[in-house]
Amino acid sequence: MHLSVFHITKAFISPRGTISALADVTFTAFQGEFVALVGPSGCGKSTLLRLVAGLLAPDSGQIDFTGWPQPPKRRLVFQDHALFPWMTVADNVAFGLEMDGIDRTDRRQRAIAQLESMGLAGFADHYPHELSGGMKQRAAIARAFVTQPDILLMDEPLRALDAQTRLVIQEELLSLWERRRPLVLYVTHDIEEALLLADRVLVMSGRPGQVRAEVTPPLGRPRDLTGRAHPEIEESKWQIWKLLEEDVRRQIQPQRVTS
């Protein structure tokens, strides 16, 4: 079972002209794999996730899901939690199950169990605004995991969190993923995070985005965050940085006028 993304292009039309977000992206990812996507901001990583999720259609190219009996269930985890403020935490977590048609008692049980495994059981009947940033993002991750998706798409899920909370949730994420090992596409800015979590890191170029290279972290499975002490991690970080550096520098420099 695998996902193949084949020569995808995607552009957006804005009042200031057409912005090419993705140019000819091709890669394959297999069931049971944790794949990270890193790249300079604005390189179309989020767009790529939305294309795989089916929320957007590509301008050209193809996305194939091979080997799944039917179109695989794809669920997104968004940058800033995107919990519904009008639902309790338990109802938020159960939202996907509710949409899947699972009855009330069953879905609540599953949502509570998921929350329990993430240390949030005591907050089931709270509203999101009563939770801290880290708790909200954990609830958002729970909402995706509890639906048991075939493909989990994560769009910089830990971006808004402080460094320490990040460490904790990264570890939780690893142990959650180990239980079922769905295919994960994980978008991040954080090179170290990509290396610590993923089986493969796809390095993207600046806009319009392309997959420029692939780096395999020198870590086995199952793993925890002690991997960060691994000397070879530093080498991989440096390798990825070298691939990104030019694009990142170009992006933060003021645009030179060309005629």
Binding site: P85, W86, M87, F95, E98, M99
Partner: protein, 248 residues
């Protein structure tokens, strides 16, 4: 301390009015002293006619808000969800909304005839637009990411409406309801002044024609109380219906 300032000011004003009217500094015919108004009010509260009038006014108000507000709510959701519908109806709504609804009363009379239905129809028309516009705005200001979540987790049709569209737009809808009720009260009273035999507006008009100014003021007090009560009711309803409204 500050809490006592408004009632103290009110009492001082009333006392001044009382003295001025009794001393003859102002005309007691145009501005009867508050004590006389209070007595008239108490007498009114004991009469069957008053309660029948209040009942008529409340009937028209409630029926109008339910019919017009309900229709506005429904269309607001639909226009919020469906772009074609929005594009098709937005200009029409924009053109009709600023019309003073009272000016349409003759047309409504021609169509529905003199009677309850034409009165309720005009009140409904008044309640319709604020409900529609606020509910529509409420649907449109739902966070785009929430639409993406809904789509990604497979929400469609009734489930989408019930779990996302309705609660997401509810704060604005309640604002719309408040505006609808306030507008409907104004129009109900106005219509009753124009054409009703019974109702608070009719009482005011009769009091004016017979120069019974105490009755006039006493009825105004009742109408003011009605407005206050409906606002209080809606405020409690808002608190009850929006438990998540601490922060967005």
């Amino acid at each position: 301390m500050e809490r006592w300032l408004p009632p103290a000011l009110l009492l001082a004003g009333l006392a001044l009015w009382e003295v001025a009217a009794r001393a003859g500094w102002i005309s007691a015919l145009f501005f009867p002293p508050p004590s006389a108004i209070t007595l008239t009010l108490l007498r009114m509260l004991g009469s069957v006619d008053f309660w029948a009038g209040l009942g008529s006014t409340l009937m028209r108000l409630t029926a109008g808000v339910l019919i017009g507000g309900g229709a506005g709510l429904l269309l607001g959701w639909l226009m919020g969800v469906s772009r074609p519908l929005r594009v098709a109806l937005a200009p029409l709504v924009a053109a009709l909304h600023p019309l003073p609804k009272l000016a349409l009363f003759p047309i409504v009379l021609v169509i529905l005839g003199i009677g309850e239905s034409s009165k309720v129809a005009l009140v409904a028309l008044t309640a319709f637009f604020p409900m529609l516009l606020n509910t529509l705005a409420g649907v449109q200001q739902i966070d785009p990411t929430h639409w993406e979540v809904a789509a990604n987790y497979g929400a469609t049709g009734g489930k989408l409406l019930r779990r996302v569209v309705l609660p997401g737009s509810l704060p604005m809808t309640l604002t719309g309801l408040r505006l609808a009720v306030n507008g409907a009260l104004v129009v109900t009273i106005a219509i009753e002044m124009l054409s009703a035999r019974q109702g608070l507006g009719a009482t005011i008009w009769l009091a004016w024609q017979t120069l019974r100014t105490e009755d006039l003021y006493a009825t105004l007090v009742v109408i003011g109380g009605l407005g206050l009560a409906s606002n209080q009711l809606l405020e409690s309803a808002t608190r009850l219906l929006l438990p998540w409204k601490g922060k967005p």
